[in-house]
C-alpha cells in the first residue's frame, strides 16, 4: 500500500506492506536510525516519536496509521545547526549514558515542555514514566529536562551566564562557554 506523511518537516511517500510497524518504517525505509526499538510490548519507550506533537510508541503504531500525520523524530529536534535545549540539557546534566533510550526520552521531554514550560520534578517523572532507562537512574534525566526548561532558547542566548566554568567547552563542536547551571536555574526561579 502507499502511504504519505510528514517526517521532520518533509513530505514522504512510500510503498509498504500494510503490516509494517512505524518504528521499522522510520528506521529501515527512511533510514532514520535515531529511533530505537527495545521491547515489542509498549513497555520500554525507546521507540517514542512525536505524532502531531504527542509522544507515541512507534513499535505499536502501524506505519499505515501514521499516514497523513506529522511525525517528529530525534533527527528533527535540532533546528539548523542549533540543538534543542532538551538536547543541550541532556549533555549538560549527564542525562544519558549508553544513549539508547535517549531519543525517546528527549522527545517526550520536548512534548512536555511544549505543553508545560515549567514542570516540577514530579511532572517530569510522570511524563517519562512510560519509558525505561537502564543506565541513569532517572535523576539526571529530570535535571536535564529542568535545564532545558531554564534555557528555553538554549545556552547563552536567552540569558547570559552569571559565572562561567570550563565544563564541556568545545566538545559539541562549538566554542560556546557553558554557563553555570545552578546559578541560572536559581535566577529563573526568581524570575518565575
Amino acid at each position: 500500500m502507499q502511504i504519505s506523511m510528514t517526517v521532520n518537516g518533509s513530505d514522504v511517500t512510500s510503498e509498504i506492506e500494510p503490516r509494517v510497524l512505524l518504528v521499522h518504517y522510520i528506521r529501515e525505509v527512511l533510514g532514520l536510525t535515531g529511533t530505537h526499538w527495545g521491547c515489542d510490548t509498549s513497555n520500554c519507550g525507546t521507540c517514542v516519536v512525536l505524532m502531531d506533537g504527542q509522544p507515541v510508541k512507534s513499535c505499536t503504531v502501524l506505519a499505515a496509521m501514521a499516514a497523513g500525520h506529522d511525525i517528529r523524530t530525534v533527527e528533527g529536534l535540532a533546528t539548523g545547526g542549533t540543538l534543542d535545549p532538551v538536547q543541550q540539557g541532556f549533555m549538560e546534566e549527564h542525562g544519558l549514558q549508553c544513549g539508547f533510550c535517549t531519543p525517546g526520552m528527549m522527545l517526550t521531554a520536548r512534548a512536555l515542555l511544549d505543553k508545560n514550560p515549567h514542570p516540577d520534578d514530579a511532572e517530569i517523572r510522570q511524563a517519562i514514566s512510560g519509558q525505561i532507562c537502564r543506565c541513569t537512574g532517572y535523576a539526571t534525566i529530570v535535571r536535564s529536562v529542568q535545564w532545558a526548561a531554564a534555557h528555553p532558547a538554549g545556552p547563552g542566548l536567552d540569558d547570559a551566564p552569571a559565572t562561567g566554568h570550563s565544563a564541556g567547552t568545545g566538545l559539541d563542536g562549538t566554542d560556546t562557554a557553558v554557563p553555570d547551571v545552578a546559578a541560572e536555574i536559581e535566577d529563573t526561579e526568581v524570575k518565575a
Partner: protein, 797 residues
Amino acid sequence: MTLIHDRQSNPAAGDEDRPIGYGRIQRKEDPRFVRGKGHYLDDIVLPGMLHGAILRAPVAHAKLVSIDTTNALAHPKVVAVITGKDLLGLKLAWAPTLSADVQAVLVTDKVRFQGQEVAFVVAEDRYAARDALELIDVEYDVLPPLVDARKALDADAPVIRDEIEGRTDNRIFDWEMGDKAETDAVFASADVVVSQEVVYPRVHPAPMETCGAVADFDAVNGKLTLYETTQAPHAHRTLFAIVAGIPEHKIRIVSPDIGGGFGNKVGIYPGYILAVVGSIVSGRPVKWVEDRSENLMSTSFARDYIMQGEIAATRDGKILALRTHVLADHGAFNATAQPTKNPAGFFSIFTGSYDLLAAHCSVTGVYTNKAPGGVAYACSFRVTEAVYLVERMVDILARKLDMDPAELRLKNFIKPEQFPYANKTGWVYDSGNYEAAMRLSMQLAGYEDLRREQAEKRERGELMGIGVSFFTEVVGAGPRKHFDIVGLGMADGAELRVHPTGKAVVRISVQSQGQGHETTFAQIVAEELGIPPEDIDVVHGDTDQTPFGLGTYGSRSTPVSGGAVALVARKVREKAKLIAGAMLETRPEDLEWEKGRWFVKGDPSAGKTIAEIAMAAHGTMTLPEGVDGNLDAEVTYDPPNLTFPFGAYICVVDIDPGTGQVKVRRFIAVDDCGTRINPMIIEGQVHGGLTDGVGMALMEIIEFDADGNCLGGSFMDYLIPTAMEVPDWETGFTVTPSPHHPIGAKGIGESATVGSPPAIVNAVVDALAPFGVTHMDMPCTPARVWAAMQGRARPPI
C-alpha cells in the same frame, strides 16, 4: 598528583590555569547520541544483507524427534534454514563456553531449556525470516523438567547433560574457600550464632538494546568481519578462531555503540555463531537481532544463589566468624563468564568489610532446565551475592543482639591502619577507611533524626524502615597469573600516538556500553600529558584497530585499562623528555615536568611543550640515540593486585500497611572509588546501580513454573523501575586511593548494584520489625510484604 578540584579553586583563572585532566567535563560521546547519530548494531546495513531469525524450543526439557523445514524453504524470501544436523556436519553444533563447558548452538539431541535455539532461518528481510519460523515443523518428546535447584542432586533427578559421557548427575562443581576447621571451632565457642537461608533470585540485566550480530564473511579473502554487541571484542575474536576454525588474523570483531551491557554482552551466544554460519552458507552478510523475549529467556541471567548463612559473635557485638554453603543454579550449560580458577566468581569476598577470626564458604554448582548464565548484571563476579549475604546476616545479628545496625558495623569494621588487610579467604584488601564513609553516610542521612522519626511513626502505627549496608568490592581482575578467562590472562593493552601537531589518539582494549570511555580515558591521557581531552581521540571496539585485552566487565575498565592508559602516557612523557633534552641541549635529568611541558630546572622559560616535542619527534632533527622518530608508545598493564572500592548506603522506605507497597523515600550513597576522574560520570554510574538495586530488591525476578516455563519473558512480566519507583538519589564520597594503581583509581561501575539491594531489603525488614519479621527474600513485592504482615505478633494496621 594535582586533582582538578584544587586547580578549579580559582574560577576566574585564565588559560594558563585551565583544568586539563580530571574533573567534571561533558562527555565526548554525547553530541552524537543526542542527535540520534549513535551507531548501534541494528543500525548497520550492508549491501545485500540478509536477516536471520531463531526458532526456539517451546518446552524446557524434551527429546528432539524430528524437524521438517520443507515449507520454510519453499517460502519465496527464504535463503537458508539451518538445523542442528547441519551444524553437526560442520562440527559447530556445540560451542565452548567461557567456563570450560560446551553449549549447544542448535539442538541436536534434546532441548534443555525453554527458549533454546532449535533452527535458524536466513531470509531476504526481517519479516520474512519471522514468517518462516512458523513454517518449520518440529516434533518433541517431552521429558520431565528439573526446575528446582534444590532437587538437582536428588537420586531421581533427570540428568540434564546426559550427552556427556559418564555423567550420571547434575553437579557441575564443588568449590570452597577459607579454613573450615578453624571456622567451625570459632562457631562452637561463640556466645551467639544466627542462621538464615538467604536467596538471591534469578534476575536479568535486560539492557535496553538486545543482543545481535551482523556477520560478513568475505569468501575471497577468507576474512570474517563480525559486528557484535560485545563487551569483550578481543576475547571473542580468539574464541571465534577456536570455535569456527577461522584463523585469528582473518577475524575482525567490531563492537559498535552498545545500548547497555551490564554483563549481558560478555558471552558468545548461539545467535552470533549462527549469523556467521548464515553468512558463510549464503555468501552474503547476515544480521541477527534478538527480540526482548529472546533476550530475557535465553541470554545470560544473573544470580540464582541459595545461600545458607551463619554468623557468630560475642554477646556484646564483636563479629567473630562467617560461614555459608551455597547452591548455585547455573542453568542447562555452565556458561558463566568468569575467571577459570573461580567457578563461583569472587564470592569468597563474603567476609565483607569486617575484621573476622575465621570464615569458610562452599559452593555447589548444579545444572537445571533453565537458561544458562549466572555472572551478569553488574555483579563484579558474584560480589553482589556475597555482599547481600553478609549485609543481611549482619542485620539479622543486630536484631538478635538488639543493637543498632550502623553501630554494629562501626564496631566491627577493618580499621584504616589494618590495610593492606588479608581477609580469611585469601584476598588482600588494598586500602580503605570504612568508618569515615559510614559516618559521612549517617551524617548526610541525618541518621539519628531518622531513627527518632521512625520511633514516632511506629507509635502511630506507620511503617517506616531504615536500612544500612556497607560493602567492599573486589574488582579490576586481575593479576594475570591468578586470573584468566579460558586461558587468556586478564591484562589489557593501550597504544598512544601523539601526532606531529600535538593531538593524540589512544587505542584501548576495553569497550564502553555507556560508561563514557571516550571521555574518561581521554581525561587520563590529558592529566598525564597536558593535552586537552578534546584533542585526544579514544579508539575502542574494533579488534583490527586496538591492542589485545579482555574487555569491559567486573568494573575492570578503569582499574585495568585505566592503568594501561596512564602508564602508556607516562612512557610517552619519558620519551618526550629525552627529545626535549636534545631540543634544549641539556641533560634529560635536568628537566622538570609541568602541565604539558618539559622545562629546565630553575629556568621555567626554557621549555618545550608536548606539541613542540611531537613536531620535533616527527621532524628532521637528530634524535637522541635509541629514540624512534615518533612520539608513540604501547603497554600491556598487568595489575599487581585487584582494587577494593567500598561504600556506605542508607535507605529509607515507607510501606503502605494496606497494600504492602514499598516506597523508597530516600537513598543516601557514599562511595569511595579511590581517585575520581570525572565526578559527573561517577555519579551517573552510582545512580544507575542504585536503580538496579531498587529493581532487584522490589520488582525484578525471572521465575519458572513447574513445567519450566519462563514467567519473566517480557517487560510486561519482568518489571524494571521507571522514574516513578526511584527517589532523587543523594550521593557523597570519600577518596582513599588504591596504593598500587598507577593513578589510585579503583573502579565504580558496579558498586551501587552490589551495595544497594541489602540496604533496601534491610530497610523493608526494619519497617516490618513490629510484625516480628527478621528476613524477607527479594523481590519485596506488595504481595510478599503484605503476606509477611499477616498472622504476626502485631496485627496489620
